[in-house]
Symmetry: C2
Subunit: 240 residues, 2 copies
Protein backbone atom coordinates (compact mmCIF):
# COMPACT_ATOMS: atom_id res chain seq x y z
CA UNK A 1 0.00 0.00 0.00
CA UNK A 2 1.18 3.54 -0.74
CA UNK A 3 2.42 5.54 2.26
CA UNK A 4 1.90 9.30 2.53
CA UNK A 5 2.75 11.94 5.11
CA UNK A 6 0.29 14.42 6.56
CA UNK A 7 0.90 15.91 10.01
CA UNK A 8 -2.75 16.91 10.40
CA UNK A 9 -5.09 13.94 10.19
CA UNK A 10 -8.68 14.05 11.39
CA UNK A 11 -10.38 11.18 13.19
CA UNK A 12 -12.58 8.80 11.20
CA UNK A 13 -15.64 11.04 11.81
CA UNK A 14 -14.15 13.65 9.52
CA UNK A 15 -11.99 13.81 6.39
CA UNK A 16 -8.41 14.95 5.81
CA UNK A 17 -6.38 16.03 2.79
CA UNK A 18 -2.98 15.16 1.38
CA UNK A 19 -0.73 18.13 0.63
CA UNK A 20 -0.39 19.30 -2.98
CA UNK A 21 2.71 17.26 -3.79
CA UNK A 22 1.31 14.05 -2.32
CA UNK A 23 -2.08 14.68 -3.93
CA UNK A 24 -0.50 15.03 -7.36
CA UNK A 25 1.62 11.93 -6.76
CA UNK A 26 -1.40 9.92 -5.61
CA UNK A 27 -3.80 10.95 -8.35
CA UNK A 28 -1.61 11.78 -11.36
CA UNK A 29 1.32 9.41 -10.90
CA UNK A 30 -0.19 6.48 -9.03
CA UNK A 31 -3.65 6.97 -10.62
CA UNK A 32 -5.39 6.28 -7.32
CA UNK A 33 -9.18 6.57 -7.32
CA UNK A 34 -12.04 7.06 -4.86
CA UNK A 35 -12.26 4.02 -2.61
CA UNK A 36 -8.57 3.10 -2.99
CA UNK A 37 -6.76 2.36 0.26
CA UNK A 38 -3.72 4.38 1.33
CA UNK A 39 -1.56 4.61 4.45
CA UNK A 40 -0.85 7.98 6.00
CA UNK A 41 1.68 8.64 8.75
CA UNK A 42 1.34 11.84 10.75
CA UNK A 43 4.98 11.79 11.88
CA UNK A 44 3.86 11.74 15.49
CA UNK A 45 3.65 7.97 15.86
CA UNK A 46 0.33 7.35 14.15
CA UNK A 47 0.02 5.24 11.04
CA UNK A 48 -3.46 5.66 9.56
CA UNK A 49 -5.16 3.31 7.15
CA UNK A 50 -7.46 5.39 4.99
CA UNK A 51 -9.60 5.39 1.85
CA UNK A 52 -9.61 8.10 -0.78
CA UNK A 53 -12.95 9.93 -0.68
CA UNK A 54 -12.21 12.57 -3.33
CA UNK A 55 -9.54 12.10 -5.98
CA UNK A 56 -8.58 15.73 -6.59
CA UNK A 57 -5.09 16.12 -8.05
CA UNK A 58 -4.36 19.19 -5.90
CA UNK A 59 -6.26 18.25 -2.77
CA UNK A 60 -6.76 14.53 -2.40
CA UNK A 61 -9.33 13.83 0.30
CA UNK A 62 -9.24 10.74 2.49
CA UNK A 63 -11.04 9.26 5.48
CA UNK A 64 -9.26 7.27 8.18
CA UNK A 65 -10.51 3.70 8.62
CA UNK A 66 -7.98 2.46 11.16
CA UNK A 67 -5.05 3.84 13.16
CA UNK A 68 -2.01 2.06 14.51
CA UNK A 69 -0.04 4.03 17.09
CA UNK A 70 3.61 3.20 17.71
CA UNK A 71 5.12 4.20 21.08
CA UNK A 72 8.26 6.35 20.91
CA UNK A 73 11.64 4.66 21.40
CA UNK A 74 12.76 4.05 24.99
CA UNK A 75 15.73 6.36 24.32
CA UNK A 76 16.36 9.43 22.20
CA UNK A 77 19.23 10.43 19.95
CA UNK A 78 19.99 14.02 19.09
CA UNK A 79 22.92 14.81 16.82
CA UNK A 80 24.16 18.40 16.52
CA UNK A 81 26.34 18.80 13.46
CA UNK A 82 28.08 21.62 11.63
CA UNK A 83 26.94 21.69 7.99
CA UNK A 84 29.61 20.46 5.58
CA UNK A 85 31.03 22.59 2.76
CA UNK A 86 29.51 20.12 0.30
CA UNK A 87 25.74 20.08 0.93
CA UNK A 88 25.40 16.57 -0.56
CA UNK A 89 27.21 15.20 2.47
CA UNK A 90 24.86 16.73 5.03
CA UNK A 91 21.84 15.72 2.93
CA UNK A 92 23.23 12.20 2.86
CA UNK A 93 23.62 12.26 6.65
CA UNK A 94 20.01 13.36 7.15
CA UNK A 95 18.72 10.61 4.82
CA UNK A 96 20.73 7.88 6.52
CA UNK A 97 20.21 9.06 10.11
CA UNK A 98 16.45 9.15 9.57
CA UNK A 99 16.53 5.66 8.04
CA UNK A 100 18.46 4.07 10.93
CA UNK A 101 16.57 6.03 13.58
CA UNK A 102 17.11 9.44 15.19
CA UNK A 103 14.87 11.82 17.15
CA UNK A 104 16.42 15.21 16.47
CA UNK A 105 19.04 16.81 14.24
CA UNK A 106 20.36 20.26 15.10
CA UNK A 107 22.71 22.32 12.97
CA UNK A 108 25.25 24.88 14.11
CA UNK A 109 27.92 27.12 12.64
CA UNK A 110 31.23 26.67 14.44
CA UNK A 111 34.20 29.03 14.51
CA UNK A 112 35.90 26.80 11.93
CA UNK A 113 32.80 26.30 9.77
CA UNK A 114 33.26 27.29 6.14
CA UNK A 115 29.54 27.04 5.38
CA UNK A 116 27.51 29.88 6.93
CA UNK A 117 24.13 29.28 5.32
CA UNK A 118 21.82 26.26 5.55
CA UNK A 119 18.28 26.01 4.19
CA UNK A 120 16.15 23.44 5.99
CA UNK A 121 13.41 23.03 3.36
CA UNK A 122 15.23 20.47 1.22
CA UNK A 123 16.54 18.63 4.29
CA UNK A 124 13.00 18.38 5.67
CA UNK A 125 11.82 16.77 2.42
CA UNK A 126 14.69 14.29 2.66
CA UNK A 127 13.69 13.52 6.25
CA UNK A 128 10.06 12.86 5.24
CA UNK A 129 11.21 10.62 2.37
CA UNK A 130 13.53 8.73 4.72
CA UNK A 131 10.76 8.23 7.27
CA UNK A 132 8.46 6.84 4.58
CA UNK A 133 11.21 4.75 2.99
CA UNK A 134 12.03 3.07 6.30
CA UNK A 135 8.35 2.68 7.25
CA UNK A 136 8.56 4.75 10.41
CA UNK A 137 5.74 6.81 11.89
CA UNK A 138 7.85 9.43 13.66
CA UNK A 139 9.35 12.35 11.78
CA UNK A 140 12.63 13.49 13.39
CA UNK A 141 12.84 17.14 14.35
CA UNK A 142 15.23 19.33 12.36
CA UNK A 143 16.44 22.59 13.91
CA UNK A 144 17.55 25.71 12.05
CA UNK A 145 21.29 26.31 12.21
CA UNK A 146 22.43 28.59 15.05
CA UNK A 147 25.76 29.62 16.53
CA UNK A 148 27.58 27.14 18.76
CA UNK A 149 26.89 29.17 21.92
CA UNK A 150 23.19 29.42 21.00
CA UNK A 151 23.08 25.68 20.37
CA UNK A 152 24.52 24.83 23.79
CA UNK A 153 21.66 26.76 25.44
CA UNK A 154 19.08 24.49 23.75
CA UNK A 155 20.51 21.26 25.19
CA UNK A 156 18.37 19.52 27.82
CA UNK A 157 19.53 15.93 27.26
CA UNK A 158 21.26 14.25 30.22
CA UNK A 159 23.94 12.31 28.34
CA UNK A 160 26.07 14.92 26.57
CA UNK A 161 29.02 14.14 24.33
CA UNK A 162 31.33 16.07 22.08
CA UNK A 163 33.18 14.06 19.43
CA UNK A 164 36.89 14.66 19.35
CA UNK A 165 39.09 14.07 16.32
CA UNK A 166 41.60 11.29 17.05
CA UNK A 167 45.18 12.48 17.24
CA UNK A 168 44.19 16.08 17.88
CA UNK A 169 45.74 17.20 21.13
CA UNK A 170 44.42 20.01 23.25
CA UNK A 171 44.70 21.11 26.88
CA UNK A 172 41.29 19.51 27.48
CA UNK A 173 42.36 16.26 25.91
CA UNK A 174 42.47 13.62 28.65
CA UNK A 175 42.58 10.84 26.03
CA UNK A 176 38.80 10.66 25.55
CA UNK A 177 36.98 7.33 25.76
CA UNK A 178 34.95 5.86 22.92
CA UNK A 179 31.30 6.93 22.80
CA UNK A 180 30.43 3.23 22.95
CA UNK A 181 31.91 3.07 26.47
CA UNK A 182 30.90 6.51 27.67
CA UNK A 183 27.16 6.29 26.97
CA UNK A 184 24.75 4.11 28.95
CA UNK A 185 21.56 2.47 27.66
CA UNK A 186 18.04 3.96 27.77
CA UNK A 187 19.29 7.53 27.88
CA UNK A 188 18.50 10.83 26.23
CA UNK A 189 21.64 11.54 24.24
CA UNK A 190 23.08 14.55 22.50
CA UNK A 191 26.31 14.41 20.50
CA UNK A 192 28.16 17.39 19.04
CA UNK A 193 29.96 16.80 15.72
CA UNK A 194 32.34 19.52 14.54
CA UNK A 195 32.99 20.97 11.09
CA UNK A 196 35.78 19.91 8.73
CA UNK A 197 38.08 22.23 10.67
CA UNK A 198 37.02 20.63 13.98
CA UNK A 199 35.90 22.55 17.06
CA UNK A 200 37.84 25.54 18.27
CA UNK A 201 39.53 25.35 21.68
CA UNK A 202 36.99 27.90 22.91
CA UNK A 203 34.06 25.75 21.74
CA UNK A 204 35.47 22.66 23.45
CA UNK A 205 35.87 24.60 26.70
CA UNK A 206 32.30 25.92 26.38
CA UNK A 207 30.95 22.38 25.86
CA UNK A 208 32.96 20.89 28.72
CA UNK A 209 31.71 23.67 30.99
CA UNK A 210 28.15 22.76 29.92
CA UNK A 211 28.66 19.16 31.03
CA UNK A 212 29.69 17.60 27.72
CA UNK A 213 32.09 14.66 27.87
CA UNK A 214 34.74 14.39 25.18
CA UNK A 215 34.54 11.08 23.30
CA UNK A 216 36.11 9.46 20.27
CA UNK A 217 34.31 7.42 17.62
CA UNK A 218 37.29 5.13 17.04
CA UNK A 219 40.83 5.38 15.73
CA UNK A 220 39.95 6.45 12.19
CA UNK A 221 39.67 10.07 11.17
CA UNK A 222 36.04 10.35 10.01
CA UNK A 223 34.50 12.97 7.79
CA UNK A 224 31.94 15.20 9.50
CA UNK A 225 28.91 13.39 8.07
CA UNK A 226 30.44 9.96 8.70
CA UNK A 227 31.15 10.86 12.32
CA UNK A 228 27.60 12.14 12.75
CA UNK A 229 26.06 8.92 11.41
CA UNK A 230 28.50 6.73 13.36
CA UNK A 231 27.53 8.42 16.64
CA UNK A 232 23.87 7.83 15.78
CA UNK A 233 24.49 4.17 14.90
CA UNK A 234 26.53 3.53 18.06
CA UNK A 235 23.76 4.92 20.28
CA UNK A 236 21.11 2.90 18.44
CA UNK A 237 23.24 -0.23 18.84
CA UNK A 238 23.69 0.47 22.55
CA UNK A 239 19.91 0.23 22.93
CA UNK A 240 19.23 -2.90 20.86
Amino acid sequence: MHLFYQSLVASSESVSFLNEDDSRHAIKTLRLKIGDEIAVTDGHGNLHLAVITSAEARRCQFRVTDTKTTPPRSFSVRICVAPTKNLDRIEWFVEKAVEVGIERISFFFGQHSERRVLKLERLEKIAVAGMKQSLQSYLPRLDEAVSFSELIKTVDEEQRFIAHLPGVDSPNDASPVNLARAATAMGRYVVLIGPEGDFSEKEIQLAVAAGFQMVTLGANRLRTETAALTACQFLNFLNV
Copy 2:
Protein backbone atom coordinates in the same frame (compact mmCIF):
# COMPACT_ATOMS: atom_id res chain seq x y z
CA MET B 1 52.17 15.81 5.55
CA HIS B 2 50.73 14.49 2.27
CA LEU B 3 49.68 10.83 2.27
CA PHE B 4 50.02 8.63 -0.82
CA TYR B 5 49.29 4.98 -1.62
CA GLN B 6 51.75 2.58 -3.18
CA SER B 7 51.38 -1.16 -2.57
CA LEU B 8 54.99 -1.87 -3.54
CA VAL B 9 57.45 0.03 -1.37
CA ALA B 10 61.14 -0.87 -1.18
CA SER B 11 63.17 -0.78 2.03
CA SER B 12 65.30 2.26 2.78
CA GLU B 13 68.24 0.71 0.93
CA SER B 14 66.45 1.19 -2.35
CA VAL B 15 63.99 3.65 -3.92
CA SER B 16 60.30 3.37 -4.84
CA PHE B 17 57.93 5.25 -7.14
CA LEU B 18 54.47 6.73 -6.83
CA ASN B 19 52.00 5.66 -9.53
CA GLU B 20 51.28 8.07 -12.38
CA ASP B 21 48.21 9.69 -10.78
CA ASP B 22 49.92 10.23 -7.44
CA SER B 23 53.11 11.42 -9.14
CA ARG B 24 51.20 14.06 -11.08
CA HIS B 25 49.33 15.09 -7.96
CA ALA B 26 52.53 15.34 -5.92
CA ILE B 27 54.62 17.23 -8.48
CA LYS B 28 52.11 19.22 -10.55
CA THR B 29 49.38 19.94 -8.03
CA LEU B 30 51.19 20.00 -4.70
CA ARG B 31 54.44 21.25 -6.28
CA LEU B 32 56.54 18.93 -4.13
CA LYS B 33 60.29 18.96 -4.72
CA ILE B 34 63.34 16.78 -4.12
CA GLY B 35 63.91 16.50 -0.41
CA ASP B 36 60.27 17.12 0.53
CA GLU B 37 58.82 14.66 3.03
CA ILE B 38 55.79 12.54 2.18
CA ALA B 39 53.91 9.68 3.84
CA VAL B 40 53.17 6.53 1.86
CA THR B 41 50.87 3.73 2.99
CA ASP B 42 51.22 0.34 1.30
CA GLY B 43 47.71 -0.76 2.27
CA HIS B 44 49.17 -3.75 4.13
CA GLY B 45 49.62 -2.03 7.48
CA ASN B 46 52.79 -0.09 6.80
CA LEU B 47 52.93 3.69 6.90
CA HIS B 48 56.21 4.88 5.45
CA LEU B 49 57.80 8.26 6.01
CA ALA B 50 59.79 9.10 2.89
CA VAL B 51 61.62 11.87 1.04
CA ILE B 52 61.25 12.64 -2.64
CA THR B 53 64.48 11.75 -4.45
CA SER B 54 63.35 12.56 -8.00
CA ALA B 55 60.46 14.92 -8.74
CA GLU B 56 59.28 13.45 -12.03
CA ALA B 57 55.63 14.30 -12.80
CA ARG B 58 54.96 10.81 -14.18
CA ARG B 59 57.18 8.75 -11.95
CA CYS B 60 57.92 10.46 -8.64
CA GLN B 61 60.77 8.67 -6.88
CA PHE B 62 61.05 8.46 -3.10
CA ARG B 63 63.20 6.80 -0.46
CA VAL B 64 61.76 5.49 2.81
CA THR B 65 63.26 7.07 5.94
CA ASP B 66 61.05 5.46 8.57
CA THR B 67 58.24 2.89 8.72
CA LYS B 68 55.42 2.55 11.22
CA THR B 69 53.61 -0.80 11.11
CA THR B 70 50.07 -1.07 12.46
CA PRO B 71 48.84 -4.51 13.54
CA PRO B 72 45.59 -5.69 11.93
CA ARG B 73 42.36 -5.38 13.93
CA SER B 74 41.61 -8.14 16.44
CA PHE B 75 38.47 -8.96 14.42
CA SER B 76 37.49 -8.83 10.78
CA VAL B 77 34.36 -7.61 9.02
CA ARG B 78 33.34 -8.82 5.58
CA ILE B 79 30.17 -7.49 4.02
CA CYS B 80 28.72 -9.20 0.95
CA VAL B 81 26.25 -6.93 -0.80
CA ALA B 82 24.20 -6.98 -3.98
CA PRO B 83 24.99 -3.87 -6.06
CA THR B 84 22.18 -1.32 -6.04
CA LYS B 85 20.39 -0.14 -9.20
CA ASN B 86 21.80 3.32 -8.54
CA LEU B 87 25.60 3.01 -8.52
CA ASP B 88 26.00 6.15 -6.38
CA ARG B 89 24.55 4.23 -3.46
CA ILE B 90 27.04 1.37 -3.62
CA GLU B 91 29.90 3.83 -4.15
CA TRP B 92 28.70 5.69 -1.10
CA PHE B 93 28.66 2.44 0.89
CA VAL B 94 32.24 1.62 -0.11
CA GLU B 95 33.45 5.11 0.86
CA LYS B 96 31.76 5.03 4.26
CA ALA B 97 32.54 1.39 5.10
CA VAL B 98 36.24 1.99 4.39
CA GLU B 99 36.18 5.14 6.54
CA VAL B 100 34.62 3.45 9.58
CA GLY B 101 36.64 0.24 9.14
CA ILE B 102 36.09 -2.95 7.16
CA GLU B 103 38.36 -5.77 5.95
CA ARG B 104 36.59 -7.06 2.87
CA ILE B 105 33.69 -6.16 0.60
CA SER B 106 32.27 -8.79 -1.74
CA PHE B 107 29.62 -8.19 -4.37
CA PHE B 108 27.07 -10.65 -5.70
CA PHE B 109 24.16 -10.72 -8.11
CA GLY B 110 21.08 -12.20 -6.48
CA GLN B 111 17.99 -13.67 -8.16
CA HIS B 112 16.17 -10.39 -7.48
CA SER B 113 19.09 -8.14 -8.48
CA GLU B 114 18.24 -5.63 -11.20
CA ARG B 115 21.88 -4.65 -11.72
CA ARG B 116 23.88 -7.35 -13.48
CA VAL B 117 27.15 -5.49 -14.14
CA LEU B 118 29.61 -3.97 -11.69
CA LYS B 119 33.02 -2.52 -12.53
CA LEU B 120 35.45 -2.55 -9.62
CA GLU B 121 37.93 0.03 -10.91
CA ARG B 122 36.08 3.10 -9.70
CA LEU B 123 35.15 1.41 -6.41
CA GLU B 124 38.81 0.57 -5.80
CA LYS B 125 39.76 4.23 -6.26
CA ILE B 126 37.06 5.19 -3.78
CA ALA B 127 38.43 2.63 -1.32
CA VAL B 128 41.97 4.01 -1.64
CA ALA B 129 40.67 7.56 -1.15
CA GLY B 130 38.70 6.46 1.91
CA MET B 131 41.72 4.72 3.41
CA LYS B 132 43.82 7.86 2.96
CA GLN B 133 41.04 10.17 4.15
CA SER B 134 40.63 8.22 7.39
CA LEU B 135 44.41 7.81 7.87
CA GLN B 136 44.39 4.03 7.80
CA SER B 137 47.22 1.83 6.56
CA TYR B 138 45.15 -1.18 5.49
CA LEU B 139 43.33 -1.21 2.16
CA PRO B 140 40.17 -3.33 2.36
CA ARG B 141 39.84 -6.11 -0.20
CA LEU B 142 37.17 -5.71 -2.87
CA ASP B 143 35.94 -8.82 -4.71
CA GLU B 144 34.49 -8.95 -8.21
CA ALA B 145 30.76 -9.61 -8.27
CA VAL B 146 29.77 -13.26 -8.62
CA SER B 147 26.54 -15.24 -8.40
CA PHE B 148 25.07 -15.91 -4.96
CA SER B 149 25.95 -19.60 -5.07
CA GLU B 150 29.54 -18.78 -6.12
CA LEU B 151 29.77 -16.26 -3.30
CA ILE B 152 28.72 -18.77 -0.65
CA LYS B 153 31.61 -21.05 -1.69
CA THR B 154 34.13 -18.28 -0.89
CA VAL B 155 33.02 -17.87 2.72
CA ASP B 156 35.49 -19.05 5.37
CA GLU B 157 34.46 -16.73 8.23
CA GLU B 158 33.12 -18.42 11.36
CA GLN B 159 30.38 -15.95 12.28
CA ARG B 160 27.96 -15.96 9.33
CA PHE B 161 24.86 -13.80 9.11
CA ILE B 162 22.25 -13.04 6.51
CA ALA B 163 20.28 -9.82 6.99
CA HIS B 164 16.54 -10.25 6.76
CA LEU B 165 14.10 -7.48 5.89
CA PRO B 166 11.82 -6.77 8.87
CA GLY B 167 8.22 -7.74 8.29
CA VAL B 168 9.08 -10.13 5.49
CA ASP B 169 7.79 -13.56 6.41
CA SER B 170 9.17 -16.79 5.02
CA PRO B 171 9.17 -20.45 6.04
CA ASN B 172 12.71 -19.91 7.35
CA ASP B 173 11.68 -16.91 9.38
CA ALA B 174 11.92 -17.88 13.05
CA SER B 175 11.71 -14.17 14.02
CA PRO B 176 15.44 -13.48 13.59
CA VAL B 177 17.43 -11.81 16.36
CA ASN B 178 19.25 -8.53 15.91
CA LEU B 179 22.83 -8.81 14.61
CA ALA B 180 23.88 -6.92 17.73
CA ARG B 181 22.75 -9.88 19.85
CA ALA B 182 23.70 -12.67 17.48
CA ALA B 183 27.37 -11.76 16.96
CA THR B 184 30.07 -12.15 19.60
CA ALA B 185 33.20 -10.02 20.02
CA MET B 186 36.64 -10.73 18.50
CA GLY B 187 35.22 -12.76 15.63
CA ARG B 188 35.67 -13.09 11.91
CA TYR B 189 32.31 -11.95 10.57
CA VAL B 190 30.56 -12.15 7.23
CA VAL B 191 27.16 -10.56 6.61
CA LEU B 192 25.03 -11.00 3.49
CA ILE B 193 22.97 -7.98 2.41
CA GLY B 194 20.36 -8.54 -0.27
CA PRO B 195 19.32 -6.44 -3.28
CA GLU B 196 16.37 -4.01 -3.33
CA GLY B 197 14.14 -7.01 -4.07
CA ASP B 198 15.60 -8.89 -1.07
CA PHE B 199 16.90 -12.46 -1.18
CA SER B 200 14.92 -15.18 -2.89
CA GLU B 201 13.57 -18.04 -0.80
CA LYS B 202 16.10 -20.31 -2.53
CA GLU B 203 18.99 -18.02 -1.60
CA ILE B 204 17.90 -17.90 2.03
CA GLN B 205 17.71 -21.71 2.14
CA LEU B 206 21.17 -21.95 0.53
CA ALA B 207 22.64 -19.55 3.12
CA VAL B 208 20.99 -21.28 6.07
CA ALA B 209 22.30 -24.62 4.79
CA ALA B 210 25.79 -23.05 4.66
CA GLY B 211 25.56 -22.11 8.34
CA PHE B 212 24.32 -18.54 8.02
CA GLN B 213 22.11 -17.23 10.81
CA MET B 214 19.24 -14.94 9.88
CA VAL B 215 19.43 -11.60 11.67
CA THR B 216 17.68 -8.25 11.58
CA LEU B 217 19.32 -4.83 11.75
CA GLY B 218 16.43 -3.28 13.66
CA ALA B 219 12.78 -2.49 13.10
CA ASN B 220 13.25 -0.01 10.24
CA ARG B 221 13.25 -1.07 6.63
CA LEU B 222 16.73 -0.05 5.44
CA ARG B 223 17.92 0.51 1.91
CA THR B 224 20.50 -1.98 0.68
CA GLU B 225 23.47 0.36 1.17
CA THR B 226 22.19 1.57 4.54
CA ALA B 227 21.77 -2.01 5.77
CA ALA B 228 25.30 -2.87 4.59
CA LEU B 229 26.86 0.06 6.44
CA THR B 230 24.73 -0.55 9.55
CA ALA B 231 25.91 -4.18 9.75
CA CYS B 232 29.50 -2.95 9.46
CA GLN B 233 28.99 -0.28 12.16
CA PHE B 234 27.29 -2.74 14.54
CA LEU B 235 30.19 -5.20 14.28
CA ASN B 236 32.75 -2.43 14.77
CA PHE B 237 30.83 -1.21 17.82
CA LEU B 238 30.71 -4.75 19.23
CA ASN B 239 34.52 -4.74 19.27
CA VAL B 240 35.17 -1.31 20.75
